[in-house]
Symmetry: D2
Subunit: 266 residues, 4 copies
Amino acid sequence: MSAEQRQNIPLTVAGRVFSSRLLVGTGKYRDFDETAAAVEASGTELVTVAVRRTNLGQNPDEPNLLDAVPMSRYTILPNTAGCYTAKDAVRTCKLARELLDGHNLVKLEVLGDDGTLYPNVVETLKAAETLVNDGFDVMVYTSDDPIVAKELERIGCCAVMPLGSLIGSGHGLLNPATLEIILGNAEVPILVDAGIGTPSDAALAMEMGCAGVLINSAIANARQPVRMAHAMKLAVEAGREAYLAERMPRRASASPSSPFAGRINA
Amino acid sequence: MSAEQRQNIPLTVAGRVFSSRLLVGTGKYRDFDETAAAVEASGTELVTVAVRRTNLGQNPDEPNLLDAVPMSRYTILPNTAGCYTAKDAVRTCKLARELLDGHNLVKLEVLGDDGTLYPNVVETLKAAETLVNDGFDVMVYTSDDPIVAKELERIGCCAVMPLGSLIGSGHGLLNPATLEIILGNAEVPILVDAGIGTPSDAALAMEMGCAGVLINSAIANARQPVRMAHAMKLAVEAGREAYLAERMPRRASASPSSPFAGRINA
Amino acid sequence: MSAEQRQNIPLTVAGRVFSSRLLVGTGKYRDFDETAAAVEASGTELVTVAVRRTNLGQNPDEPNLLDAVPMSRYTILPNTAGCYTAKDAVRTCKLARELLDGHNLVKLEVLGDDGTLYPNVVETLKAAETLVNDGFDVMVYTSDDPIVAKELERIGCCAVMPLGSLIGSGHGLLNPATLEIILGNAEVPILVDAGIGTPSDAALAMEMGCAGVLINSAIANARQPVRMAHAMKLAVEAGREAYLAERMPRRASASPSSPFAGRINA
Amino acid sequence: MSAEQRQNIPLTVAGRVFSSRLLVGTGKYRDFDETAAAVEASGTELVTVAVRRTNLGQNPDEPNLLDAVPMSRYTILPNTAGCYTAKDAVRTCKLARELLDGHNLVKLEVLGDDGTLYPNVVETLKAAETLVNDGFDVMVYTSDDPIVAKELERIGCCAVMPLGSLIGSGHGLLNPATLEIILGNAEVPILVDAGIGTPSDAALAMEMGCAGVLINSAIANARQPVRMAHAMKLAVEAGREAYLAERMPRRASASPSSPFAGRINA
């Protein structure tokens, strides 16, 4: 344990300050009412939207997500879900910027295939470079490869978002060891972006020192999504508090809860 | 997923109803002030005390824990920490009943050895039977043996408290599979009693359906115990909410966060 | 690493010396021919038989297992599978002794229920005491409870056989931490008796210092039982050799396979 | 379980057929005598050598590894350990081809940093393309990224070698889920190249369907390297046999080792 206590500094991404460290997605809900209720229960301030699959005004005659999740209240984080090349992802970010009147903050994801939705890190690096050069603030979905994560930071991404496990799988953090390496090297916020299945997964990511987590399926696919959104809110707060409080050391053997010294004989 | 939603029923032990599901211990704190502050931050209503190692009035000239953690505010749960035989444990419970004016609710623990503090289940079963017959309400620390857990219930214990890992080790739930069997068979509340190291451990126990968790070292030995007590409060609430909300199913492969159908072409 | 190298001493149980450390069961095979072939491929010298479910001569008109697995070649280890009380188990051991002309070596198992086949440790302790007093050499199936394991040794059992996971489940070693405690305290051979699903599970048990493993379902229920029996033979040998050779230390960070010093510049 | 049994086809890499599936490294041994003895005990036919750190004749006055591990007996696999750019790695492979009289088979590794020795996948892809185009047979060390693994296959690498965990760490397979995806997609041999710490790790990789494993530190840093080399040989054979035999299905609950039907009443 170092001499310094960990500092309780709020999450800052591209100059924006957030008091909530839970980011949520908007896919897979029954309808926009449920989306709105779950988003509200999560306490989030940062809501991600798949530009290519969601009506943000492209189709004026259909329901617009931004009515359910208004930009007056939430920071919208357009994402490039469904893009498999750098070119497609860049084009999608530009479309989002147009639709959202110059909004610069995006979540980049360039996927490798539609069976795993695992990121294509080569295309991701290319797209990140192009977008940063074009003035975007890029939060970026990536694998748990520590070298790629550092390179994305070097390129100028404002947050790096490694997967915990496959998108939508709910398997949690399958390889905490690589996440730990990424956290140890990082100078930008690291947020876990995929795989969280339960509050305990979310708490674990935060305890390890992640700056936040992004959750969609684990809320939307719970039996009671709104209640689960609230559970995730509590878990992220719990994990953050625990990170600041610094956990007890693990011990190989048992340790009694009370000192033996001064033991009172019954 | 069954047709029935899980019911949000408060924790009831021996006829007492509790709104908090976090039980805390009182050992290992720097002083009674820190104990009091951590207990308060945890939101607990049920505080366990090692009768043989704590002054509950036996020594009138020394500080009394009950001044820091008053019985007017908390339900006190005297425990038999430090007892290695049924006889000792029974005697300790009787001492507690005297000290606390007829208080019947106790936490029984009969330990196997002082290196592991693993329960001696044979002596535990004996002591439980004696105490139940003598009118005590017995919450009982035990191993994760499902047969012993069921037998303790049959004897009449009002709550069964299997370990997650060794007392004071902070290793969390080392064998969730046995805990799951215990939960599947139980008709009394099951609470994890030892080994919780972090909020994610606590949340996991609650998500699995535990009725509560008991935590001491993970709070007292954190760098900032009061902050960790609050983190544990949030985690237990998160885990309980998640249990009620019912988690998403795990999937072998990825699942996109937005439906492909109706995909908007950029 | 201590100064002393680990000694390569053969497995000795109740005065009998075995060069193979793989014990096998005889249940679940298609027929006695397959049993015989798998037993042979396993290289075992110690074959366990469920006395209450197998014809060892009780029914003279039916095929006798001892024709397929002859006592001239293998040490037969009658077991009490299917017994749920000490009384039944003791009676079954006596029946085996009669059938096998005074054979004293038995494997005691007293089960808790037929859903988990988890041991009933209280009844197991009772039966062990009775059997030892009656002159049996008792190898005993038990849980991974270190206190019970030590008590079984104290009673005089010649080998203690904790489960890795539930009988027939194939989940491997679900709680290596408790097994490690048992191994650290033991003065009799410790053998893992249930749950082994694959050669890697068997190798792990041996690497940890187990004196042997007992396998039935993982061989009999493989697609090719005879081939799997051979795989298990190799794995047990591999694990034993690794225990003697003593594994490399785990390292938190990477370590290059070649020294940097003396590096040749290309 | 499919209708087809798995086929027992020998390992074939770049047209060469190998009966052993254990590849070994030559770093970290006390001296060339120990190297030679361990290599022999491992039963390997394919030995990897760090070209930039090992004398293969570059320094005529110093001991030459090829005297201890002669090319008449083993296939030598020059590797590019210590290279951090595609350029360096390509140059190193060309040097090896010269030193070894036109030998084309190489193991490519391009590392990301010297703290983790994690691969730099972008540089690895570049180097692989260059080397394949230059007529090399390229076995390639990579991360557990399934998209990169498939791309390396597409480029024309003759074997893809994902890490289990960091080089020299001995942590085993930290993320079997990604390895499983790689195996499910592969049409070239997949071999685990780093992180194996024990025979059980090696057996697990083989059981999952890996075509082989490469081991260095776990042998060289064992207390008794020669004995550990033999243990690894057995474990790789055990794991391969188990893959062919196909493991029993895992079961949630217990399954008795003998059928209840036909149970003999004692």
